[in-house]
C-alpha cells in the first residue's frame, strides 16, 4: 500500500467546494509537488493529509492509518507526519533548541541529554548549529523556516508535508531553504510540497500534480508536465508562471 493514499476526497468550507473528488497515491521516497493557481485546493489537500482539515467524504490513508476515521489517534499519527507552514509558526517564547526539543521530550518522552543531541544534529542538517541558543525573533525569515524544518525533522517523520514554505520569504533567502529540501530529497525523505517554485519542482520532483478547481487535473513526471501539458488549463498555467 502507498505511504499516502487519497481517494475521492471532497471538502468544502460552507458552500464553497474546495476539493471535488481528489485521488492521489504517494509512494515511499517520492517527492511530490503540487502546483496550481491559488484557490485550487493545494494547501487544503496538504492540510487534510494530517487531519488539520476535516473532509466531507472520501478516504485519506497515511502510513497505514485512515486519517479521517474519527477513531484514529491523530496525535500518534502526526508524530510521523512532519508539516512545515508558510508562516514558520515557531514558538516565539522558546529558544531554537527548545523549539526543536519540546516535542521529542514531552511527546516522545526522550531524555533531555538525547534530545539536545537531536537538536544539534537537525540544526546541522539545516546549517544553523550556531543559532541553537537564539530566539526566533533574532533570526531572518529564511533561518526561521529552516528551524521549522529542523523542528519537524527532530520527530524523525516518515513524510514531510511542506505548505508553500518559501512563499513568505525574500527572494534572496529562498535559496537556502530550497537547498535544505534538496539535501533531504537526496537522503530519501518522502516529501509532499505545495510550491510556486517551478524550477525547484521541475528539478527535484518525482511526480508533479497540477490541481485545478479542486481536482487533480493532470499529474506525471516533471519533464512531461512542464514540456508536454495535455490540458489547456495546465498549458495556460505553465505559460503564466514560467
Amino acid at each position: 500500500m502507498s505511504l499516502i493514499r487519497i481517494e475521492n476526497v471532497h471538502k468544502s468550507f460552507g458552500d464553497l467546494a474546495v476539493l471535488n473528488g481528489v485521488s492521489l497515491d504517494i509512494e515511499e521516497g517520492e517527492i511530490v509537488t503540487i502546483i496550481g493557481r491559488s484557490g485550487s485546493g493545494k494547501s487544503t489537500l496538504l492540510r487534510c493529509i494530517n487531519g488539520l482539515e476535516k473532509v466531507q467524504s472520501g478516504e485519506i490513508w497515511a502510513d497505514g492509518v485512515q486519517v479521517n476515521d474519527p477513531a484514529t489517534n491523530l496525535r500518534l499519527l502526526r508524530q510521523r507526519l512532519g508539516i512545515v507552514f508558510q508562516s514558520y509558526n515557531l514558538f516565539p517564547h522558546l529558544t531554537v533548541e527548545r523549539n526543536i526539543t519540546l516535542a521529542p521530550q514531552v511527546v516522545q518522552k526522550r531524555a533531555a541529554a538525547d534530545v539536545r543531541q537531536v537538536a544539534v544534529d537537525v540544526l546541522r542538517q539545516v546549517g544553523l548549529e550556531s543559532k541553537i541558543d537564539a530566539y526566533p525573533i533574532q533570526l531572518s525569515g529564511g533561518q526561521q523556516q529552516r528551524v521549522a524544518i529542523a523542528r519537524s525533522l527532530a520527530m524523525a517523520p516518515k513524510v514531510m508535508l511542506l505548505d508553500e514554505i518559501t512563499s513568505a520569504l525574500d527572494p534572496e533567502l529562498i535559496g537556502d531553504v530550497l537547498k535544505v529540501l534538496e539535501d533531504l530529497a537526496r537522503q530519501g525523505m518522502t516529501m509532499v510540497l505545495v510550491t510556486h517554485e517551478m524550477g525547484f519542482a521541475r528539478r527535484v520532483s518525482s511526480q508533479v500534480v497540477f490541481m485545478h478547481e479542486g481536482r487533480v487535473w493532470e499529474s506525471g513526471p516533471p519533464d512531461r508536465i512542464f514540456t508536454k501539458p495535455e490540458t489547456p488549463e495546465l498549458a495556460t498555467f505553465i505559460q503564466s508562471v514560467l
Binding site: N50, R78, F85, N89, H93, A103, V106, V107, Q108, M155
Partner: protein, 218 residues
C-alpha cells in the same frame, strides 16, 4: 472642641490604610481564583458553563460595584442572613475582581494565534501539553501588565466599602474629618496615601508593558 490633625490622626488613617491593603489582597487573591475558573470555562468549557460565565461577567460589568455591595450587605439581611460588612464587602469585591480578571485572562489566552495551537498539535502535543508549554507561557506575558493595572483599580475600588460602614482608608478619613473638621487636609492626606499605594504599581505595570514590547515574542 475640634481636635487638631496631628500624628494620632495620621495614625488612624494609616490604620485604615492597612485594611485597604488587606481588603485589596483578599479581593485580588479571591478574584484570581474565580477569574482562573472563569477564563478556563470561557476558553474550553462546555457551552452551558460558558454561557453561565458570560452571564456572570456581564452582570458584574454591567452594574456598579457600589450597587453590588449594597446588594450583598442589605440583600442578605433581608433574606434573614446576618452578614457583617467584612463578608459583604469581601464577597462583592471578589466577585467583581473575578469577573474582570477572568475576562482579561480569557482575552490573553485567545490572543495567542491559532497557528500556535496548530503547530503544536502537528508535533503531537496534547491539549494540556499545548496549554502548559506553548499557550499559557505566552499568554502570561501578555497578561501581567493588565493584571497589575487591574490591581490598582481594586485598591481604589475598596474605598466604596466605606459606604457600608467598613473602616478602611476612606472611612477612616471621614471619621478623622468629623473629629477635626479639616476636610481638605484630611482628604488630601487620604488621597496621598492612595496615591502612594497605587502609583508604584502603575509604574511597575508600565515598566512591564515596555519590557514586554521590547522582548515581544521572545
Amino acid at each position: 472642641m475640634f481636635r487638631d490633625f496631628g500624628v494620632d490622626e495620621v495614625g488612624l488613617l494609616l490604620k485604615g490604610a492597612q485594611w485597604t491593603v488587606l481588603l485589596s489582597f483578599i479581593a485580588f487573591i479571591g478574584g484570581s481564583i474565580v477569574g482562573l475558573v472563569v477564563a478556563a470555562v470561557r476558553v474550553v468549557g462546555p457551552r452551558s458553563l460558558n454561557a453561565l460565565a458570560t452571564g456572570y461577567i456581564q452582570a458584574v460589568q454591567g452594574t456598579p460595584l457600589l450597587g453590588q455591595m449594597f446588594l450583598f450587605f442589605f440583600g442578605f439581611s433581608i433574606m434573614g442572613l446576618e452578614v457583617s460588612a467584612w463578608v459583604a464587602v469581601s464577597v462583592s469585591l471578589i466577585l467583581f475582581s473575578g469577573a474582570f480578571l477572568g475576562d482579561i485572562w480569557r482575552g490573553c489566552i485567545q490572543a495567542i494565534p491559532q497557528t500556535q495551537w496548530e503547530a503544536s498539535s502537528c508535533l503531537g502535543l496534547g491539549f494540556f501539553q499545548q496549554m502548559r508549554y506553548v499557550i499559557l507561557p505566552q499568554a502570561l506575558r501578555i497578561a501581567i501588565p493588565p493584571t497589575v493595572g487591574f490591581f490598582v483599580q481594586i485598591i481604589k475600588n475598596t474605598s466604596l466599602a466605606a459606604v457600608v460602614g467598613f473602616v478602611e482608608l476612606l472611612r477612616a478619613g471621614q471619621m478623622v474629618t468629623a473629629a477635626t473638621f479639616k476636610p481638605f487636609t484630611v482628604y488630601l492626606a487620604v488621597a496621598l496615601i492612595y496615591f502612594a499605594l497605587c502609583y508604584p504599581l502603575s509604574l511597575w505595570s508600565r515598566h512591564l508593558e515596555r519590557k514586554l514590547n521590547v522582548a515581544h515574542s521572545h
